[in-house]
Amino acid sequence: AQSVTQLDSQVPVFEEAPVELRCNYSSSVSVYLFWYVQYPNQGLQLLLKYLSGSTLVKGINGFEAEFNKSQTSFHLRKPSVHISDTAEYFCAGYGTALIFGKGTTLSVSS
């Protein structure tokens, strides 16, 4: 079955600390992978995507993700977070349709 699993439902961090949001996908999901960000009461905005090529993908707002085929992972990272990064983050993978993980709430405090 196609699935995308976000391993942490909530990640609290302090401002300027590094952060990693973890995502694993099932092998039946194709290698088209995405991270979306959702700010409160807004739609989803594409953060970055992996379609092919370099396994390290850079996105907006200083985020990056690394596609790891052997571990079927697509973890999202940022070396130094800001208060404004507080949001819900969704990992998604494309099989016959776009499959979303359940989301990770990133809470950045000062």
């Binding site: 088209y32 995405f34 009461n41 807004q42 739609g43 494309y94 776009l98 979303f100 993980g101 359940k102």
Partner: protein
């Protein structure tokens, strides 16, 4: 450039009342269109998708329905709302013929059923 709009942004409806949420896309032709629901504390659930006018595929059986009367218009409806229909509804589009799964989302419509 392409834009997507959905309305209303917020809606409070009594149980048993009808529902109509509308979504329109501008700047592209023959897009694939989607309705997702996001319930509190949950991920995104695909409700309907459409690859063309009058073509609707339902992913989850429920008391909701969708219609696509025009190429860039997608409507989510219900004849009688249930409490469980409360949630955040998101419309999205993707490029026709591009099977990468990349979606572009609207601003969302928050429905509260009382």
């Amino acid at each position: 450039s392409q834009t997507i709009h959905q309305w209303p942004a917020t809606l409070v409806q009594p149980v048993g009342s009808p529902l109509s949420l509308e979504c329109t896309v501008e700047g592209t032709s023959n897009p694939n269109l989607y309705w997702y629901r996001q319930a509190a504390g949950r991920g995104l659930q695909l409700l309907f998708y459409s690859v063309g006018i009058g073509q609707i595929s339902s992913e989850v059986p429920q008391n909701l329905s969708a219609s696509r009367p025009q190429d860039r218009q997608f409507i989510l409806s219900s004849k009688k709302l249930l409490l469980s229909d409360s949630g955040f509804y998101l419309c999205a589009w993707s490029r026709a013929g591009v099977n990468t799964g990349e979606l572009f989302f609207g601003e969302g419509s928050r429905l509260t059923v009382l």
